[in-house]
Amino acid sequence: MKFVKVNMSEKSVQFQEVPKDYVGLGGRGLTSVMINAEVPPKCDPLGSENKLIFAPGLLSGTNLVNTSRLSIGAKSPLTGTIKESNAGGTVAAALGHLGITAIIVEGQAARGDLSILRIDEKGEANLLPAQAYKGMRTYAFAKKLLEAYGEKTAILCIGPAGESQLTAASVQTTDIDGRPCRAAGRGGLGAVMGAKGLKAIVVDQRGKSADAIADPKAFNEAAKAFAQTIKAHPFSGQMLPALGTAGLVAPVNSLGAFPCYNATKGVLEGWEKISGENMAKIITERGGKTAHMGCAQCVVHCSNEYVDKQGKYVTASLEYETIWSMGGMTGITDLDTIAKLDYLCDDIGLDTMSTGVAVAVAMDAGQAKFGDGEAAIRMVEEVAKGTEFGKVLGNGPAAVGKHLKHHRVPVVKGQSIAAYDPRGMQGNGVTYATCPMGADHTAGNVIGDYLGGALDPLKPDGQVAASRNSQIAMASVDTMGLCLLASVVLKTPEGGEAFLKALNAKLGTNLGPEAIPAFGIKVLQAEREFNRKAGFTSKDDRLPEFFYKEPLPPHNKVFLISDVDLDSTFNF
């Protein structure tokens, strides 16, 4: 259990035993509690006082499957709030194998100075000059890093967008095959990394100094049972390996809640062309991979490899949220174009969601016609070129709306909504409005309640409670390092029991089921406290006005949750 503390002002790296206040925390739990305790709430997110924290989950690096999520936290330059964005890939497991609880990046390098933090097989950490890689896009950069440090290297890096400190910049990370195609996209954390002067973190995956497991035998038994429940579940064991997250295109359009043409309609004309079913057909016909292991320790294999007509790699993995932002919101129904846009964003180091929505706002404001794929590609390329419009687009949809004086900008606290319209799925609207990190789909998605028949998505009743429960659960899951797609089995008796046994065996504790949501509550309380100190009030927990005034076809509903009800979301 140790911290790697990196001071970019002094160019120093130090190791520190984890202080007792942070023992027993991981992932989002650790990043949010630490930011709340140590980062001045009103600081400049792109200044020296902000901290950028990389924390594997509590269970990352163990042999419990699907625990390879890495949380990245900071004060966000996009929202001004506390922020955690997590990504899969191989870094979380690599850090876990080295017994590293977190990397904490402080201070700020001199303007224009770039470094790489390298952590080798023995856990030695050094800052190395990276001037030679200035301006390099992530695919070419990752290739160079793998040549320099070996194939068994896990990489976190930024592209030109992060170096330019644009607030839609992502932190990209490598998948099992060493491609920088996985992203901590949300909140502009790539800009924070760029502001620190850190171009990449490279971690050797062959470390053998993991923290001890208190009861290895019990842990292994629980881990085996947990893996079996994931493989047996219809969602994680069947649907995701077949269609990936793109399998959501059909249900959400079928319910009329797919925000499209910049959130003016709830069903995309021709959505079948960009559905998971059609994507799987195209990939299969062309010889690509519909199921692919993207992250260490994964048994779900929701990832895919999208290939062109010649069978050549285009991108991995084409995901639901990207298909929505680059397809639904823009009216583009050609998967080849969407795949190209996904690749471009990964390569430039941009959040596909914020970028797609920014393009959609520009289209809605008259900059191009909906459905114009060439225009969308041109706009995204402008970010890398550094044109004036490219800088605006790279700062996300709110910046585009302000620049073009357009009113319909689907963001909360500056961050774009996700692929569920709050007028067609009211509970997801509660999550967008109240989530401490701005509109977010992973922080409290309620779609399972709608499809399971537990809740009517169009009526206000029960939505606040559903969002609250989901936000607490997700904050817990993000603390463990558990993939949210695999976390669906926590709702089953056997999955929940196996997970709790594994957690207790790892920590040497005897926690009951109530301990799991307790993690989430602690995290949300820390996040909300930070935001309050930063100047946010309940008035910031609202959707943009147009969601209350412009009905969404086909159901022609507006957002119906009252302010009083929204303010009761965190009544704990």
Partner: protein, 80 residues
């Protein structure tokens, strides 16, 4: 008897060799049949998914179906 057109999503169509996603599957069921009757007719259990949506709304097992309905047969998903 009445006819409804069923379109399968997720992995549900794998049970029906030759299924054409553009046309859907025309199914004949008794007049007044309910959602549960359709699922039984198609031999799709609740465990496997079998969420039925018509005209943008989820139907429950006891809801009746109408002649000529366009039925979307979905699987429960939890986000992504």
């Amino acid at each position: 008897m009445m006819k409804v057109t069923v379109r399968f999503f997720g992995t549900l169509s794998q049970k029906f060799p030759g299924y054409d996603p553009e046309k859907g599957l025309e199914v004949e069921i008794a007049d007044g049949a309910r959602v549960k009757d359709l699922l039984a007719r198609l031999r799709i259990s609740e465990v496997k998914g079998g969420v039925v949506a018509v005209d943008g709304k989820i139907l429950h097992l006891e809801n009746p179906l109408k002649q000529g309905a366009s039925v979307h047969l979905l699987q429960t998903v939890y986000g992504g």
